[in-house]
Symmetry: C2
Subunit: 301 residues, 2 copies
């Protein structure tokens, strides 16, 4: 059943996406993770396959109000083996999403990339955040603020493609992608503008399917039709971007967190490119970020 | 007369800062620039020393409603000579600020750096934006989103110092400076974290005077006490940053423009480090950005 295009993040929580998927949580003995799962369960989104210290998980689940029918437990205290079990549960069709519990993102990713985890697809893993600010009537996908530190052009190709695939699943049939820089001129002294120009031309040549890709674009031109007009930047992306591809991890990460903590934005994020999406919300993330991340994962699997 | 510490951007427009300064506008025949000057004049902030094509300037000034007592004109149509005249007017004490009209930022900066402009101070020029989001009860200074593309450590030292000096003039006696990265760990694979650690230690050793400098910090920890607590990052900067030093031009630029166009933030910005501040608002900047930039300049000269 095709879902309507995503308009607001809260749509992710609406009953139309209630699919009661199973989320494999790696090292699940972590209260914030279990609380997010409780909220997801209350919204009818997902149940848990909780991997970790079984007795600890059961007592924490009780403490956060996650009811026993909402989860099953696999007792495995070793983080690496717990990761492999999660991957294998996905491979067997017994889980549809993976979520990080009390394990570092690096260890989780390294474990999932082991052949035994049966998680690799031949594509690169990358992070995409879907973000919404108060008073704005649109969401934005921002990539990559969490996995690739300083991606080269070939890595950016895959990062861009992963984001395009994600937003297509959110209902954007021809995703409008802005490859960000600090300005629109292609400047040999600014490597971000060279990669952006190359990605734009690849998009024009059909490399990313129906996606409309333009760059280099500064964020004002990517987001504001008025700014695009004043700067005489035309095309289907200027002022209408749905995906922002950042030149480096700091640019995406600071944008997401700046919007969240200095403008009250809400967001969810996923690592995509593997067999299923992975929720890697960090310790400091707020409860709603975990919930939106889970909901986003449930929407796109 | 010492002004009270800046609390809101609108305080920049309040009568307490009405000093009737003179702004030398280079290539002033540009309607948006003259309109910003009209607004600044109406707020009692500044009058114009308008350099450019005299008859064009006079007719545009009339068109935007800038009254003749609010400006004088120097007829000089050559951009380079116009720039030198602005610098010289400042050197003679006949102007207190410089503003860009119909000239590229690059050409203006190059002209001001000529010895004849008498504008150099031996310090590096860098850009600082002071930004405020709806519903937030604080402003932030963000640097450098406009001048330095990929500053090395010694350039970051000067960029940081320039921002510290600016916010001290806004009333922050011990500015709290976060050197941004995507996380708090010092990671040899992430150059931004190495520079941040070095800058933090330099700050601890007194290099930046009374400023409190910490890094690497992700933006969540820089801006949110709660995030800092969860991540166990302590110190006087975590959750309380007043200055964000970005690792590269894209990070600062995308943050400023993302907040403006995806969260309704307002801001003003200056190039500082020269004899006087320079307003370099770009074509696409909104009217309020030009006005806040002028007001910021009037406050800090």
């Amino acid at each position: 059943m095709a879902l309507p295009p995503l308009r607001r993040l809260d749509d992710l929580l609406a009953s139309a996406v209630a699919r009661h998927l199973k989320v494999a949580v790696v090292m699940a003995g972590e209260p914030n993770t279990l609380e997010a799962l409780r909220l997801a369960h209350e919204h009818g989104l997902a149940e848990g396959l909780l991997i970790g210290n079984g007795s600890q998980i059961r007592s924490m689940a009780e403490a956060v109000g996650l009811p026993p029918p909402a989860f099953s437990v696999i007792d495995e205290e070793d983080p690496r083996r717990a990761t492999l079990l999660a991957g294998q549960a996905v491979a067997r069709g017994e889980a549809h999403l993976i979520m990080k519990g009390r394990i570092s993102t690096g260890a989780l990713m390294a474990g999932l990339l082991q052949p035994e985890a049966a998680f690799r697809t031949g594509r690169r893993l990358s992070h995409v955040a879907v973000i919404e600010s108060p008073g704005q009537d649109r969401w934005l996908a921002v990539t990559d603020g969490a996995v690739h530190i300083a991606p080269d052009l070939s890595q950016k190709v895959e990062i861009l493609q992963n984001a395009v695939d994600l937003v297509q699943r959110l209902g954007a049939e021809e995703p409008r992608v802005a490859v960000l820089a600090a300005l629109e001129q292609v400047n040999p002294e600014m490597p971000a503008t060279l990669d952006a120009a190359a990605l734009a031309k690849m998009g024009e040549r059909g490399r990313f399917g129906p996606a409309l890709v333009d760059g280099p674009l500064a964020a004002d031109v990517a987001l504001s039709r008025e700014a695009a007009e004043v700067k005489h930047v035309r095309g289907p992306v200027a002022g209408e971007a749905q995906v922002l591809v950042a030149p480096c991890i700091e640019t995406a990460n600071v944008l997401i967190k700046g919007l969240q903590y200095f403008a009250g934005a809400r967001w969810g994020g996923l690592v995509v490119g593997g067999r299923v999406p992975v929720v890697v919300a960090s310790r400091a993330d707020r409860r709603d970020t975990r919930l939106y991340s889970l909901a986003l994962g449930c929407r796109v699997v």
